[in-house]
């Protein structure tokens, strides 16, 4: 008869950010364990709170599933003697497998007959196997591990109790001296010691002891309470999902409360209020129906309603102290003239090998100016870029950003406006930190986009030029994220500028600096290779397959938005049957042209009409392809290339490229070489794996 099994790991408070992942590992590894152990069950549930990870297996069979295994014996030829009797070899084999000669049957393997038997493997009792669960518990991986006491195990936090039960039986194992039992613990303050009678009681018994073991249930409790209070008070609570996930993993029994702060704090920028509430205190900010912040917040307590007033008063006091600090900084920062903030930049190191923030600002101004030259910008916008580049780091010197580092850029914009800067300049200061993560929001203004690219280009090129290349697992300066950011901005803005030209600005700049020892050529190789890899990853994110990615960017990345467009088009074309003749013609040209020694074409040396026809088609079509390419029209450019299909096929049908006459041969190869150049400027089609279905 099947029974339920329960495992629970009792821990000192796990970091909230580890919990969901640990629970899913526990679940997956349990499933894997049950599968390899041939243990059948009806259902499996996993649970987690800050103090526990658990898995409940319902209807777990009492023994492993019995299986039959086929065992191969000696060749049939030596299994019987001449008289047809079983030989010693055959008898020995059956004995060894615990069966008799009556069980023997023959089966051919690669033309030779061997004797075989079927052996039954009886399932072992589940109870004997479950102590191995210990290895699942210790195999859970966390982002950061620690040791405690005199133990050698490295784990997220110390293990304080273990539950292992099958039906009413305790499954014995121990980890770091903690022995499994049927004893668990309720809420730290509201609950007590619990003796479980059977595994299946787990959820309800703990609920009675103020522990909601299912994290989605806790999330639902929080949401329900927030909705109730929102309706009751006519307020709007925008629930940030990341915060909700964190908060539900900070408590075992959630009770929300509403606190208030003084109206006059609403004069502070909203970002300061929101950061203080969300990031520092894990409160949900509250808005009115029009989306304006109210002097209220919602916190989540780990417990019930008892003495909730005290908890509210305490939380209000903490927030008041924080906001008073912020208010003080806000006023003090503005008393300091902008120039004084700027002067301080040369006292702060940006990176040990790359000088101070003031040094960085000089470089960013240079790079931003050159980028602005390459894009068609009005002189007004150019002036904004120049000014914003000069100012972009000043807010790092303010007390507010020193205290609330996550407000870098945000305070820059706010203060810049107060100092009377143009809104375009101010916005660029904020936006140059965008995108903050791989898929984060991009700058909206042109000024912000240019400055963002310049700042990132400076960091990436600088780090690579002084040998701070990210490793497989470590990217402390976020270079990958920043390179991806540059490409995303270029794509979104659709700017018709070659990536390599932008990179060159920073490469040349760094090659001229004393702090860099690396040669210009070497820096260039590093930077280009780095962006090549990032572009490949980003294109793969667009669902472009690896071979198409190679075909598009092998030569250069060029105008990135156009590269994306060509990649999408090729990804479609590679499946189209009607494209096959074109691809065959073009790829044949690409392959054979590699033998070309010269690119000089002499029309007088053409021998045949088909040769002349191809040359004529090429001279006519080549400018069309080129101008479509310049206009970044991927479809038109390919359409023009397709027109070469027929002349190419005729050419190959009617001419020997490798003619005996060396001059004719060279001339033919030169023609193909010229055509190949036009094709590979579009994409190196010889790298594509064609996938038409016929």
């Amino acid at each position: 008869m099947a029974k339920d099994a329960l495992f629970e790991i009792g821990l000192e408070e796990l970091p909230a950010r580890f919990i969901d992942q640990a629970e899913s590992q526990l679940r997956q590894q349990t499933e894997q364990f049950l599968k390899t152990q041939r243990l059948s069950y009806t259902s499996l549930q996993s649970f987690s709170t800050p103090r526990r990870l658990a898995v409940l297996i319902q209807g777990l069979a009492e023994t492993q599933t019995t299986i039959e295994e086929e065992v191969k014996g000696p060749a049939a030829a030596i299994a019987r003697d001449d008289a047809g009797n079983w030989t010693k070899a055959a008898i020995g084999f059956t004995k060894g497998q615990g069966v008799t000669v009556d069980d023997i049957y023959e089966k051919e393997i690669k033309g030779t007959a061997y004797i075989h038997v079927k052996k039954k493997i009886e399932g072992k009792p589940t109870l004997d196997l479950l102590p191995q669960f210990e290895t699942i518990i210790t195999a859970i991986q966390f982002n950061k591990n620690m040791r405690w006491g005199e133990e050698t195990l490295r784990y997220a936090r110390p293990i304080r109790w273990l539950v292992g039960m099958y039906g009413t039986d305790v499954i014995p194992f121990n980890i770091t001296g903690v022995h499994s039992s049927n004893v668990t613990y309720g809420h730290r303050f509201l609950g007590g010691k619990i003796i479980l009678n059977e595994a299946n009681d787990y959820v309800d018994v703990l609920k009675a002891q103020y522990v909601i073991v299912d994290s989605s249930d806790r999330e639902e409790m929080i949401m329900t309470q927030i909705k109730e209070v929102a309706t009751e008070k006519g307020i709007h609570v925008p629930v940030d999902h990341d915060l909700l996930e964190e908060v539900r993993n900070l408590v075992e029994f959630p009770t929300i409360f509403v606190g208030a702060f003084d109206n006059n704090f609403l004069e502070l920028p909203a970002d300061i209020l929101i950061t203080s509430m969300k990031e520092h205190q894990r409160y949900f900010p509250v808005k009115d129906q029009d989306g304006k912040l109210l002097p209220l917040f919602i916190g989540v307590r780990n417990g019930d309603h008892h003495a909730l007033e005290t908890v509210i008063r305490g939380n209000e006091k903490v927030l008041r102290a924080r906001l008073s600090d912020a208010q003080f900084f806000y006023e003090e920062d503005q008393k300091t003239p902008l120039d004084i903030h700027l002067e301080k930049l040369d006292r702060v190191i940006f990176q040990e090998k790359l000088g101070t923030l003031a040094d960085k600002v000089v470089r960013v101004r240079h790079i931003a100016g050159k980028i602005a030259d390459k894009i068609d910008l009005t002189s007004e916008v150019q002036a904004h870029v120049e000014r914003a580049a000069h100012l972009c780091k000043f807010d790092l010197m303010t007390q507010m950003v020193n205290e609330f580092t996550e407000l870098q850029g945000v305070m820059g914009e706010d203060y810049a406006l107060k100092y009377g800067e143009h809104p375009g300049v101010a916005a660029a200061i904020r936006e140059h930190y965008l995108p903050k993560h791989a898929s984060g929001a991009l700058p909206e203004t042109v000024e912000g986009s240019v400055l963002s690219i310049a700042d990132k280009l400076d960091t990436i090129t600088g780090c690579l030029a002084v040998g701070l290349k990210p490793s497989a697992s470590q990217d402390p300066y976020g270079l990958r994220r920043q390179a991806t950011g540059i490409l995303r901005i270029l794509e979104e803005k659709g700017w018709s500028v070659e990536l390599e030209d932008l990179l060159d600005i920073a490469i040349k700049l760094y090659a001229s600096l004393d702090l860099v020892q690396m040669s210009e050529q070497h820096i260039k190789e590093e930077v280009i290779a780095f962006f090549h890899t990032r572009a490949s990853y980003l294109l793969r994110d667009h669902q472009i397959e690896q071979d198409v990615v190679h075909a598009i960017i092998h030569h250069k990345i060029g105008r990135y938005p156009y590269a994306v467009e060509r990649a999408h088009l090729l990804s479609v074309k590679r499946h189209e049957a009607s494209f096959k003749p074109t691809q065959e013609a073009l790829v044949r040209v690409l392959n054979i042209s590699k033998k070309a020694e010269t690119s000089h074409i002499d029309p007088d040396l053409f021998q045949t009409d088909s040769e002349r026809a191809l040359y004529e088609a090429f001279t006519r079509i080549s400018p069309l392809v080129q101008s479509a390419q310049e206009e970044a029209n991927a479809a038109d450019a390919l359409h023009h290339l397709e027109k070469l299909t027929e002349p190419i096929h005729h050419f190959f049908e009617q001419n020997m490229v490798m003619a005996d006459d060396a001059r004719v041969r060279k001339n033919r190869l030169a023609l193909l070489h010229a055509i190949a150049n036009v094709i590979s400027n579009y994409a190196d089609l010889s790298l594509v794996e064609w996938k038409q279905q016929f």
Binding site: G149, R157, G299, A307, K317, V318, L319, R320, I349
Partner: protein, 292 residues
């Protein structure tokens, strides 16, 4: 409950948990962790349980006695237990009860916080303990000290005395806190706060401090060679405080800053090694004591 009673309550409580009650260490330092009673004693295999109040100087936090939350010098109540006991969280929560804080009347949380002191080559994992949203204690399992793996692991509890008192006494301004009946923090500390701030930010003699730093650094190195671990460590503490004064005076550029920190760290590392070696040479006396 005034601050004096709080300290007495904590001392009584931890004394009952077999902690040795120590007095504050007599060299300037930025945190209770830097007392040799924590930093050195948490190294090596010998068991060690200690509790003490540590006045902690942070020159850069000086605010001329004008800021309601920041002080040049605040007080920490420090508990260190090696190896960390299995029931340390319960012991800690009971200590709050000794301060009249009933967990059922409040919201007490353990919020992840990983502590690191690069100057001392020290790092640990643990939490900030929140009382109704306020951080009142740093709770750390030491993983590394002076660049050496902590083995066995010590647990360190650092109560912010003024923080805790501002909650218990329900005061908004640190200077209004009662130290003992009729005497406030203001009465005792306002003048030193003001004067230390003036000294730190306006009057300190940077040239002299630079010289002192070099002298302390040299002396620490010299006597360490002779196996005099504790005197050498005192000079490291002096280096650290002198550096903090220079830093607050704004005379150390950022590049130099990293340089100074790494010089102090180098000293701390050497001392950590020397301390363990010296204890080993002595046969780890406190270890054999326990075995007996």
């Amino acid at each position: 409950m005034n601050i004096q009673s709080m300290i007495l309550a904590l001392q009584t409580y931890w004394s009952k948990q077999n902690c040795i009650l120590m007095q504050s260490y007599d060299v300037e330092k930025g945190a209770g962790t830097m007392s040799p009673m924590t930093l050195l004693r948490s190294l090596g295999p010998e068991p060690w349980n200690v509790a003490y109040v540590e006045p902690s100087r942070r020159p850069d936090d000086g605010r001329y006695g004008q800021n309601p939350n920041r002080l040049y010098q605040h007080h920490q109540f420090q508990v260190v237990m090696k190896p960390s006991p299995d029931n340390i969280q319960e012991l800690y929560l009971d200590s709050l009860k000794a301060l009249g804080i009933d967990p059922l009347e409040h919201d007490i949380r353990f919020v992840e916080d990983n502590w690191e002191n690069p100057t001392l080559g020290a790092a640990g994992l643990g939490w900030e303990v929140w009382l109704d949203g306020m951080e009142i204690t740093q709770f750390t399992y030491f993983q590394q000290i002076g660049g050496l793996e902590a083995n066995p692991v010590s647990v360190e509890l650092t109560y912010g005395i003024e923080r805790l008192a501002s909650y218990i006494q329900d005061k908004e301004n640190v200077f209004d806190l009662e130290w003992t009946d009729g005497v406030t923090v203001k009465d005792i500390f306002l003048q030193p706060e003001y004067e230390h701030s003036v000294y730190t930010f306006e009057e300190s003699d940077a040239d002299m401090l630079f010289q002192l730093f070099l002298m302390y650094e040299k002396e620490a190195g010299r006597i360490m060679e002779k196996g005099l671990v504790f005197p050498a460590y005192d000079y490291v503490l002096k280096c650290s405080h002198t550096f903090n004064l220079l830093d607050a005076r704004g005379v150390i550029s950022v590049t130099e800053r990293t340089g100074y920190i790494s010089r102090i760290r180098q000293l701390a590392r050497r001392i950590a090694k020397a301390y363990v070696a010296e204890r080993e040479r002595l046969g780890f006396p406190m270890l054999s004591k326990e075995v007996q």
